[in-house]
């Protein structure tokens, strides 16, 4: 079982992702949420059991690219899988996120199948 952190400034999108994780039959013990990268870092600091992060890119305060950088700069979290879930599927943006340490990405709108494909390698 896994604990997934969803980082997105839209409460609607956090609910949609949570629902799609269930539809995709991803074996999640629990889902925890954060509204931007700053909140995501705080959640990671207070919850050592998080197994995977799904993060938006275009967010206020700390965007997804800076969030990837911040997570990877934290030694204890440098190997934590991070999947970007974004409306912006542009090659340059994605290559930047991947170069900084993201493990993959899913473009919105997504399906249970595309979420499952992106997460399969990382969840037990």
């Amino acid at each position: 079982m896994n604990k997934v952190l969803i980082v997105d400034d839209s409460a609607t999108m956090r609910k949609i992702i949570t629902r799609v994780l269930r539809q995709a039959e991803i074996p999640c013990a629990s889902v925890v949420e954060a509204g931007n990268g700053v909140e995501g870092m705080a959640r990671l600091a207070s919850d050592p059991d998080i197994d995977l992060i799904l993060s938006d890119i275009n967010m206020p305060e700390m965007n997804g690219v800076d969030f990837v950088k911040a997570v990877r700069a934290t030694r204890a979290k440098e190997s934590l899988p991070m999947i970007m879930v974004t409306t912006e599927g542009g090659e340059a943006m994605m290559n930047n996120a991947l170069a900084l340490g993201a493990n993959g990405y899913v473009t919105k709108p997504f399906t249970p199948e595309s979420i499952r494909a992106a997460l399969e390698a990382y969840l037990g």
Binding site: D9, S10, K15, I16, R19, P60, T86, G90, P109, T111
Partner: protein, 172 residues
């Protein structure tokens, strides 16, 4: 400053066609019923002339900035906004939603559609930035020429998805 591009900039018709493809993909994959109206693809001025805009009570906006700048506006009737929120959240008609939930869903929908246009039409032209989606006062004037509007009937309400071109600082 926008980066220079060697590619020809898209005209209004091309941008509107990209917007229509984006709406089709987002609406169909995020599970809500929609139907293009007879006014579909009419210019915004025509919509205002026939009085459609008058019944709209909320607007969600995402701005884009790069070699060309502008905004995508989702203008909804109250029922249309609830249709979108219930569709995205897969809720039935009997589920009550707070205003914040409806507005958040509308903003997210506008964000997905604008992101689709950016990825498929704007990004090949160079660097583009999108604003965080925001709600705007109903009826507030949008400066600059409109490329056009796509009007859809949803389950109970209407939504006009509009593309405007302009050059102003990004909202943040």
């Amino acid at each position: 400053m926008a980066e220079p591009t060697s590619q020809a900039l898209p005209g209004d018709a091309e941008l509107l066609a990209a917007l229509e493809r984006a709406v089709d993909e987002v609406f169909s994959s995020m599970v809500f019923a929609f139907e293009a109206l007879a006014e579909h693809r009419s210019p915004v001025a025509t919509l205002e002339k026939i009085g459609v805009r008058a019944s709209f009570d909320r607007e969600a906006v995402v701005e884009f900035r790069g070699a060309i700048s502008g905004q995508v506006v989702f203008r909804c009737t109250a029922d249309g906004a609830h249709d979108i929120a219930r569709g995205l959240l897969m809720l039935d008609d009997s589920t009550a939603l707070a205003v914040e939930e409806v507005n958040d869903a509308l903003k997210e929908c506008a964000n997905m559609v604008t992101g689709h246009v950016k990825t498929n039409v704007l990004d090949p032209l160079g660097k583009f930035d999108l604003s965080i989606p925001f709600m705007k006062d109903v009826g507030a004037q949008v400066p600059g020429p409109a490329c056009g509007a796509l009007v859809y009937r949803l389950q109970q309400g209407l939504v006009s998805v509009e593309l405007w071109r302009r050059d102003v600082p990004l909202h943040s």
